[in-house]
Symmetry: C2
Subunit: 214 residues, 2 copies
Protein backbone atom coordinates (compact mmCIF):
# COMPACT_ATOMS: atom_id res chain seq x y z
CA UNK A 1 0.00 0.00 0.00
CA UNK A 2 2.68 2.49 1.01
CA UNK A 3 4.91 4.06 -1.59
CA UNK A 4 8.39 5.29 -0.81
CA UNK A 5 8.18 8.67 0.87
CA UNK A 6 6.84 9.61 4.25
CA UNK A 7 3.21 10.06 5.24
CA UNK A 8 3.35 13.84 4.89
CA UNK A 9 4.52 13.67 1.27
CA UNK A 10 2.08 10.93 0.38
CA UNK A 11 -0.79 12.97 1.82
CA UNK A 12 0.27 16.00 -0.25
CA UNK A 13 0.33 13.95 -3.45
CA UNK A 14 -2.93 12.14 -2.78
CA UNK A 15 -4.58 15.39 -1.74
CA UNK A 16 -3.36 17.20 -4.84
CA UNK A 17 -4.99 14.56 -7.00
CA UNK A 18 -8.19 14.38 -4.98
CA UNK A 19 -8.75 18.10 -4.44
CA UNK A 20 -8.04 18.73 -8.11
CA UNK A 21 -10.66 16.24 -9.16
CA UNK A 22 -13.56 17.15 -6.90
CA UNK A 23 -12.65 20.52 -5.38
CA UNK A 24 -12.16 21.46 -1.75
CA UNK A 25 -15.73 21.04 -0.57
CA UNK A 26 -16.20 17.82 -2.52
CA UNK A 27 -13.02 16.24 -1.30
CA UNK A 28 -13.13 13.54 1.34
CA UNK A 29 -10.29 13.29 3.81
CA UNK A 30 -10.96 9.61 4.36
CA UNK A 31 -10.46 8.93 0.66
CA UNK A 32 -7.28 11.01 0.65
CA UNK A 33 -5.93 9.20 3.67
CA UNK A 34 -6.73 5.81 2.14
CA UNK A 35 -5.09 6.73 -1.17
CA UNK A 36 -2.02 7.87 0.75
CA UNK A 37 -2.00 4.69 2.81
CA UNK A 38 -2.37 6.75 5.96
CA UNK A 39 -4.76 7.11 8.86
CA UNK A 40 -7.38 9.87 8.79
CA UNK A 41 -5.93 11.45 11.90
CA UNK A 42 -2.62 11.92 10.09
CA UNK A 43 -4.13 14.82 8.15
CA UNK A 44 -5.01 16.65 11.33
CA UNK A 45 -1.70 15.71 12.90
CA UNK A 46 0.48 16.94 10.02
CA UNK A 47 -1.59 19.80 8.62
CA UNK A 48 -4.09 20.72 11.31
CA UNK A 49 -7.10 19.76 9.23
CA UNK A 50 -8.60 19.64 5.76
CA UNK A 51 -8.03 23.33 4.98
CA UNK A 52 -4.46 23.12 6.29
CA UNK A 53 -3.73 20.25 3.92
CA UNK A 54 -5.23 22.23 1.07
CA UNK A 55 -3.04 25.25 1.69
CA UNK A 56 0.03 23.06 2.14
CA UNK A 57 -0.70 21.52 -1.26
CA UNK A 58 -0.64 24.98 -2.84
CA UNK A 59 2.90 25.40 -1.49
CA UNK A 60 3.75 21.88 -2.62
CA UNK A 61 2.66 22.77 -6.16
CA UNK A 62 4.86 25.87 -6.20
CA UNK A 63 7.81 23.74 -5.09
CA UNK A 64 7.03 21.09 -7.68
CA UNK A 65 6.74 23.47 -10.59
CA UNK A 66 9.80 25.41 -9.53
CA UNK A 67 11.83 22.21 -9.30
CA UNK A 68 10.59 20.98 -12.68
CA UNK A 69 10.99 24.07 -14.81
CA UNK A 70 13.65 25.70 -12.64
CA UNK A 71 16.69 25.18 -14.88
CA UNK A 72 14.90 26.26 -18.05
CA UNK A 73 13.22 29.15 -16.27
CA UNK A 74 16.52 30.52 -14.94
CA UNK A 75 17.98 30.42 -18.43
CA UNK A 76 15.00 32.16 -20.00
CA UNK A 77 14.75 34.75 -17.23
CA UNK A 78 18.42 35.66 -17.66
CA UNK A 79 17.91 35.84 -21.39
CA UNK A 80 14.75 37.94 -21.12
CA UNK A 81 16.41 40.35 -18.71
CA UNK A 82 19.09 41.33 -21.23
CA UNK A 83 18.57 45.01 -22.09
CA UNK A 84 19.68 44.68 -25.71
CA UNK A 85 17.21 41.87 -26.46
CA UNK A 86 16.57 41.74 -30.21
CA UNK A 87 13.17 40.68 -31.59
CA UNK A 88 14.52 37.70 -33.51
CA UNK A 89 16.41 36.44 -30.45
CA UNK A 90 13.36 36.88 -28.22
CA UNK A 91 11.28 34.98 -30.73
CA UNK A 92 13.72 32.10 -30.70
CA UNK A 93 13.72 32.04 -26.88
CA UNK A 94 9.94 32.05 -26.91
CA UNK A 95 9.94 29.19 -29.40
CA UNK A 96 12.19 27.12 -27.16
CA UNK A 97 10.00 27.95 -24.19
CA UNK A 98 6.71 26.88 -25.74
CA UNK A 99 8.33 23.72 -27.09
CA UNK A 100 9.47 22.58 -23.67
CA UNK A 101 6.63 23.96 -21.56
CA UNK A 102 3.98 22.99 -24.10
CA UNK A 103 5.11 19.39 -24.21
CA UNK A 104 5.30 19.21 -20.42
CA UNK A 105 1.84 20.72 -20.08
CA UNK A 106 0.39 18.37 -22.68
CA UNK A 107 1.86 15.07 -21.52
CA UNK A 108 3.14 15.16 -17.95
CA UNK A 109 0.82 13.58 -15.38
CA UNK A 110 2.26 15.90 -12.76
CA UNK A 111 1.40 18.92 -14.88
CA UNK A 112 -2.10 17.53 -15.27
CA UNK A 113 -2.61 17.48 -11.52
CA UNK A 114 -1.10 20.92 -11.07
CA UNK A 115 -3.27 22.40 -13.79
CA UNK A 116 -6.44 20.88 -12.37
CA UNK A 117 -5.79 22.20 -8.89
CA UNK A 118 -4.78 25.67 -10.09
CA UNK A 119 -7.71 25.97 -12.44
CA UNK A 120 -10.15 25.20 -9.65
CA UNK A 121 -8.55 27.90 -7.58
CA UNK A 122 -9.16 30.38 -10.39
CA UNK A 123 -12.85 29.52 -10.37
CA UNK A 124 -13.23 30.82 -6.86
CA UNK A 125 -9.90 31.89 -5.46
CA UNK A 126 -8.96 31.39 -1.82
CA UNK A 127 -5.73 32.01 0.08
CA UNK A 128 -4.21 29.14 -1.89
CA UNK A 129 -4.38 31.18 -5.07
CA UNK A 130 -2.14 33.89 -3.64
CA UNK A 131 0.38 31.24 -2.64
CA UNK A 132 0.50 29.94 -6.19
CA UNK A 133 0.37 33.30 -7.96
CA UNK A 134 3.07 34.88 -5.81
CA UNK A 135 5.10 31.69 -5.81
CA UNK A 136 5.33 30.90 -9.51
CA UNK A 137 2.55 32.19 -11.73
CA UNK A 138 3.21 35.93 -11.55
CA UNK A 139 6.94 35.46 -11.99
CA UNK A 140 6.42 33.25 -15.02
CA UNK A 141 3.96 35.63 -16.63
CA UNK A 142 6.30 38.59 -16.15
CA UNK A 143 9.07 36.73 -17.95
CA UNK A 144 6.72 35.74 -20.75
CA UNK A 145 5.58 39.37 -21.02
CA UNK A 146 9.16 40.60 -21.40
CA UNK A 147 9.84 38.14 -24.22
CA UNK A 148 6.58 38.86 -26.03
CA UNK A 149 7.18 42.60 -25.69
CA UNK A 150 10.64 42.21 -27.21
CA UNK A 151 9.24 40.32 -30.18
CA UNK A 152 6.47 42.84 -30.73
CA UNK A 153 8.73 45.80 -29.94
CA UNK A 154 6.37 46.94 -27.19
CA UNK A 155 7.07 48.50 -23.82
CA UNK A 156 7.40 45.43 -21.54
CA UNK A 157 5.47 47.31 -18.84
CA UNK A 158 2.57 48.18 -21.13
CA UNK A 159 -0.87 46.72 -20.67
CA UNK A 160 -0.83 45.55 -24.28
CA UNK A 161 2.29 43.49 -23.68
CA UNK A 162 0.65 41.79 -20.72
CA UNK A 163 -2.50 41.10 -22.74
CA UNK A 164 -0.39 39.63 -25.55
CA UNK A 165 1.33 37.35 -23.05
CA UNK A 166 -2.05 36.09 -21.84
CA UNK A 167 -3.05 35.50 -25.44
CA UNK A 168 -0.04 33.29 -26.02
CA UNK A 169 -0.62 31.53 -22.71
CA UNK A 170 -4.24 30.89 -23.65
CA UNK A 171 -3.20 29.10 -26.80
CA UNK A 172 -1.13 26.70 -24.71
CA UNK A 173 -3.54 26.26 -21.83
CA UNK A 174 -6.62 25.59 -23.93
CA UNK A 175 -5.22 22.15 -24.72
CA UNK A 176 -4.96 21.44 -21.01
CA UNK A 177 -8.15 23.08 -19.70
CA UNK A 178 -10.49 22.11 -22.51
CA UNK A 179 -8.98 18.66 -22.85
CA UNK A 180 -12.30 16.85 -22.93
CA UNK A 181 -13.46 18.99 -25.87
CA UNK A 182 -10.08 18.69 -27.63
CA UNK A 183 -10.15 14.91 -27.43
CA UNK A 184 -13.69 14.75 -28.80
CA UNK A 185 -13.18 17.25 -31.59
CA UNK A 186 -9.88 15.81 -32.78
CA UNK A 187 -11.06 12.26 -32.30
CA UNK A 188 -8.13 11.45 -30.05
CA UNK A 189 -8.50 8.95 -27.24
CA UNK A 190 -5.56 10.29 -25.29
CA UNK A 191 -2.70 12.76 -25.62
CA UNK A 192 0.54 10.85 -26.10
CA UNK A 193 3.77 11.84 -27.79
CA UNK A 194 2.28 11.99 -31.27
CA UNK A 195 -0.58 14.25 -30.21
CA UNK A 196 1.81 16.41 -28.18
CA UNK A 197 3.92 16.90 -31.31
CA UNK A 198 0.92 18.38 -33.08
CA UNK A 199 0.07 20.66 -30.17
CA UNK A 200 3.65 21.87 -29.93
CA UNK A 201 3.68 22.51 -33.69
CA UNK A 202 0.53 24.59 -33.25
CA UNK A 203 2.22 26.61 -30.48
CA UNK A 204 5.28 27.18 -32.66
CA UNK A 205 2.96 28.48 -35.37
CA UNK A 206 1.51 30.92 -32.80
CA UNK A 207 4.98 32.18 -31.93
CA UNK A 208 5.98 32.46 -35.59
CA UNK A 209 2.87 34.54 -36.22
CA UNK A 210 3.69 37.00 -33.42
CA UNK A 211 4.49 40.44 -34.65
CA UNK A 212 4.55 39.62 -38.33
CA UNK A 213 3.51 42.74 -40.22
CA UNK A 214 0.73 42.37 -42.79
Amino acid sequence: MNEQPNTRSRLLEAGLDHFGRVGFEGANIRAIATAAGANIAAINYHFGGKRGLYLAIAGHIVEGITATIGPMAAEIIAFAARPELRPADAREALRQFVKTAGRLLATSPKAERWARFILREQLDPTDAFDVIYDGIMGRMHRTLTRLVAAVLELDPDSETARLEAFSLLGQALIFRFARAAVLKRLDWSTIGEGEADKIVAQLERAVARLGVKP
Copy 2:
Protein backbone atom coordinates in the same frame (compact mmCIF):
# COMPACT_ATOMS: atom_id res chain seq x y z
CA MET B 1 -37.53 35.49 -1.24
CA ASN B 2 -39.13 34.18 -4.43
CA GLU B 3 -38.28 35.67 -7.81
CA GLN B 4 -40.61 35.55 -10.78
CA PRO B 5 -40.46 32.10 -12.40
CA ASN B 6 -41.58 28.77 -11.09
CA THR B 7 -39.76 26.53 -8.66
CA ARG B 8 -38.27 24.36 -11.37
CA SER B 9 -36.63 27.31 -13.14
CA ARG B 10 -35.41 28.84 -9.92
CA LEU B 11 -33.80 25.55 -8.91
CA LEU B 12 -32.02 25.34 -12.28
CA GLU B 13 -30.60 28.86 -11.91
CA ALA B 14 -29.58 28.43 -8.28
CA GLY B 15 -28.07 25.03 -9.03
CA LEU B 16 -26.12 26.37 -12.02
CA ASP B 17 -24.51 28.96 -9.79
CA HIS B 18 -23.89 26.61 -6.89
CA PHE B 19 -22.60 23.60 -8.84
CA GLY B 20 -20.34 25.90 -10.85
CA ARG B 21 -18.80 27.32 -7.72
CA VAL B 22 -18.13 24.19 -5.69
CA GLY B 23 -18.58 21.28 -8.09
CA PHE B 24 -21.03 18.41 -7.97
CA GLU B 25 -19.68 16.64 -4.90
CA GLY B 26 -19.18 19.89 -3.02
CA ALA B 27 -22.62 21.24 -3.76
CA ASN B 28 -25.27 21.20 -1.08
CA ILE B 29 -28.87 20.69 -2.07
CA ARG B 30 -30.07 22.52 1.03
CA ALA B 31 -28.13 25.62 0.01
CA ILE B 32 -29.46 25.36 -3.55
CA ALA B 33 -33.04 24.98 -2.33
CA THR B 34 -32.67 27.95 0.02
CA ALA B 35 -31.17 30.14 -2.72
CA ALA B 36 -34.05 29.17 -4.98
CA GLY B 37 -36.59 29.85 -2.23
CA ALA B 38 -37.76 26.26 -2.40
CA ASN B 39 -38.03 23.25 -0.16
CA ILE B 40 -35.31 20.58 -0.25
CA ALA B 41 -37.77 17.96 -1.36
CA ALA B 42 -38.55 20.04 -4.45
CA ILE B 43 -35.24 18.92 -5.97
CA ASN B 44 -36.19 15.28 -5.65
CA TYR B 45 -39.72 15.99 -6.76
CA HIS B 46 -38.78 17.87 -9.95
CA PHE B 47 -35.49 16.24 -10.90
CA GLY B 48 -35.37 12.95 -9.02
CA GLY B 49 -32.35 13.93 -6.97
CA LYS B 50 -29.07 15.82 -6.92
CA ARG B 51 -27.63 14.11 -10.00
CA GLY B 52 -30.89 14.63 -11.90
CA LEU B 53 -30.77 18.34 -11.18
CA TYR B 54 -27.16 18.45 -12.34
CA LEU B 55 -27.95 16.83 -15.67
CA ALA B 56 -31.00 19.03 -16.15
CA ILE B 57 -28.76 22.06 -15.64
CA ALA B 58 -26.52 20.88 -18.47
CA GLY B 59 -29.55 20.94 -20.75
CA HIS B 60 -30.58 24.30 -19.30
CA ILE B 61 -27.14 25.70 -20.22
CA VAL B 62 -27.45 24.47 -23.80
CA GLU B 63 -30.84 26.16 -24.07
CA GLY B 64 -29.51 29.36 -22.54
CA ILE B 65 -26.48 29.64 -24.80
CA THR B 66 -28.51 28.74 -27.86
CA ALA B 67 -31.09 31.40 -27.04
CA THR B 68 -28.42 34.02 -26.38
CA ILE B 69 -26.13 33.55 -29.36
CA GLY B 70 -28.74 31.95 -31.60
CA PRO B 71 -29.35 34.87 -33.99
CA MET B 72 -25.66 35.65 -34.45
CA ALA B 73 -24.77 31.97 -34.69
CA ALA B 74 -27.31 31.34 -37.45
CA GLU B 75 -25.91 34.24 -39.45
CA ILE B 76 -22.31 33.10 -39.04
CA ILE B 77 -23.14 29.46 -39.78
CA ALA B 78 -24.89 30.44 -43.01
CA PHE B 79 -21.95 32.62 -43.92
CA ALA B 80 -19.36 29.95 -43.08
CA ALA B 81 -21.23 27.35 -45.11
CA ARG B 82 -20.89 29.31 -48.35
CA PRO B 83 -18.68 27.29 -50.71
CA GLU B 84 -17.04 30.32 -52.33
CA LEU B 85 -15.94 31.80 -49.00
CA ARG B 86 -13.03 34.19 -49.61
CA PRO B 87 -10.25 34.59 -46.98
CA ALA B 88 -10.86 38.32 -46.49
CA ASP B 89 -14.61 37.76 -46.01
CA ALA B 90 -14.02 34.93 -43.57
CA ARG B 91 -11.61 37.10 -41.62
CA GLU B 92 -14.22 39.84 -41.37
CA ALA B 93 -16.85 37.34 -40.18
CA LEU B 94 -14.39 36.03 -37.62
CA ARG B 95 -13.69 39.56 -36.46
CA GLN B 96 -17.39 40.21 -35.93
CA PHE B 97 -17.73 36.91 -34.10
CA VAL B 98 -14.92 37.50 -31.60
CA LYS B 99 -16.14 41.05 -31.02
CA THR B 100 -19.62 39.90 -29.99
CA ALA B 101 -18.74 36.60 -28.35
CA GLY B 102 -15.65 38.00 -26.66
CA ARG B 103 -17.56 40.85 -25.05
CA LEU B 104 -20.33 38.50 -23.92
CA LEU B 105 -17.82 36.06 -22.47
CA ALA B 106 -15.94 38.83 -20.69
CA THR B 107 -18.81 40.74 -19.16
CA SER B 108 -22.05 38.76 -19.02
CA PRO B 109 -22.88 37.28 -15.60
CA LYS B 110 -24.78 34.50 -17.35
CA ALA B 111 -21.71 33.63 -19.42
CA GLU B 112 -19.69 33.58 -16.22
CA ARG B 113 -21.94 30.93 -14.71
CA TRP B 114 -22.02 28.89 -17.91
CA ALA B 115 -18.26 28.98 -18.24
CA ARG B 116 -17.72 27.92 -14.66
CA PHE B 117 -20.04 24.94 -14.92
CA ILE B 118 -18.66 23.85 -18.29
CA LEU B 119 -15.06 24.19 -17.20
CA ARG B 120 -15.68 21.96 -14.21
CA GLU B 121 -17.17 19.36 -16.50
CA GLN B 122 -13.99 19.44 -18.59
CA LEU B 123 -11.90 18.67 -15.50
CA ASP B 124 -13.61 15.34 -15.04
CA PRO B 125 -16.34 14.87 -17.61
CA THR B 126 -19.59 13.09 -16.80
CA ASP B 127 -22.73 12.54 -18.85
CA ALA B 128 -23.39 16.27 -18.56
CA PHE B 129 -20.39 16.99 -20.77
CA ASP B 130 -21.86 15.05 -23.67
CA VAL B 131 -25.09 17.01 -23.30
CA ILE B 132 -23.20 20.28 -23.58
CA TYR B 133 -20.75 19.20 -26.27
CA ASP B 134 -23.38 17.67 -28.51
CA GLY B 135 -25.80 20.48 -27.77
CA ILE B 136 -23.70 23.55 -28.50
CA MET B 137 -19.96 23.20 -28.15
CA GLY B 138 -19.18 20.86 -31.03
CA ARG B 139 -21.45 22.76 -33.38
CA MET B 140 -19.80 26.07 -32.47
CA HIS B 141 -16.30 24.72 -32.87
CA ARG B 142 -17.09 23.28 -36.29
CA THR B 143 -18.30 26.66 -37.47
CA LEU B 144 -15.23 28.34 -36.05
CA THR B 145 -13.05 25.76 -37.78
CA ARG B 146 -14.65 26.46 -41.14
CA LEU B 147 -14.02 30.18 -40.82
CA VAL B 148 -10.45 29.77 -39.63
CA ALA B 149 -9.76 27.30 -42.42
CA ALA B 150 -11.08 29.79 -44.97
CA VAL B 151 -8.81 32.52 -43.64
CA LEU B 152 -5.78 30.26 -43.59
CA GLU B 153 -6.75 28.57 -46.87
CA LEU B 154 -6.70 25.19 -45.22
CA ASP B 155 -8.89 22.15 -45.73
CA PRO B 156 -11.74 22.74 -43.21
CA ASP B 157 -11.67 19.04 -42.35
CA SER B 158 -7.95 18.98 -41.65
CA GLU B 159 -6.56 18.42 -38.19
CA THR B 160 -4.54 21.62 -38.51
CA ALA B 161 -7.68 23.67 -39.07
CA ARG B 162 -9.23 22.23 -35.94
CA LEU B 163 -6.07 22.94 -33.95
CA GLU B 164 -6.03 26.51 -35.24
CA ALA B 165 -9.63 26.94 -34.14
CA PHE B 166 -8.74 25.79 -30.63
CA SER B 167 -5.83 28.24 -30.65
CA LEU B 168 -8.17 31.11 -31.38
CA LEU B 169 -10.65 29.86 -28.82
CA GLY B 170 -7.91 29.64 -26.22
CA GLN B 171 -7.07 33.29 -26.67
CA ALA B 172 -10.66 34.20 -25.85
CA LEU B 173 -11.23 31.71 -23.05
CA ILE B 174 -8.05 32.50 -21.13
CA PHE B 175 -9.61 35.77 -20.02
CA ARG B 176 -12.55 33.85 -18.63
CA PHE B 177 -10.84 30.78 -17.14
CA ALA B 178 -7.76 32.46 -15.74
CA ARG B 179 -9.70 35.49 -14.58
CA ALA B 180 -8.13 35.56 -11.12
CA ALA B 181 -4.65 35.72 -12.65
CA VAL B 182 -5.72 38.26 -15.28
CA LEU B 183 -7.13 40.61 -12.64
CA LYS B 184 -3.97 40.37 -10.55
CA ARG B 185 -1.53 40.77 -13.40
CA LEU B 186 -3.34 43.67 -15.07
CA ASP B 187 -4.14 45.27 -11.73
CA TRP B 188 -7.85 45.33 -12.50
CA SER B 189 -10.39 44.95 -9.74
CA THR B 190 -13.15 43.80 -12.05
CA ILE B 191 -13.90 43.42 -15.75
CA GLY B 192 -16.31 46.14 -16.82
CA GLU B 193 -16.90 47.73 -20.19
CA GLY B 194 -13.51 49.44 -20.32
CA GLU B 195 -11.60 46.25 -19.57
CA ALA B 196 -13.77 44.30 -22.01
CA ASP B 197 -12.82 46.80 -24.72
CA LYS B 198 -9.17 45.98 -24.19
CA ILE B 199 -9.82 42.24 -24.25
CA VAL B 200 -11.85 42.52 -27.45
CA ALA B 201 -9.10 44.64 -29.01
CA GLN B 202 -6.63 41.88 -28.14
CA LEU B 203 -8.89 39.29 -29.79
CA GLU B 204 -9.18 41.42 -32.91
CA ARG B 205 -5.39 41.57 -33.02
CA ALA B 206 -5.36 37.76 -32.88
CA VAL B 207 -7.74 37.54 -35.84
CA ALA B 208 -5.79 40.15 -37.79
CA ARG B 209 -2.63 38.11 -37.26
CA LEU B 210 -4.22 34.90 -38.62
CA GLY B 211 -2.68 33.76 -41.83
CA VAL B 212 -0.47 36.75 -42.44
CA LYS B 213 2.53 35.56 -44.37
CA PRO B 214 5.95 36.46 -42.97
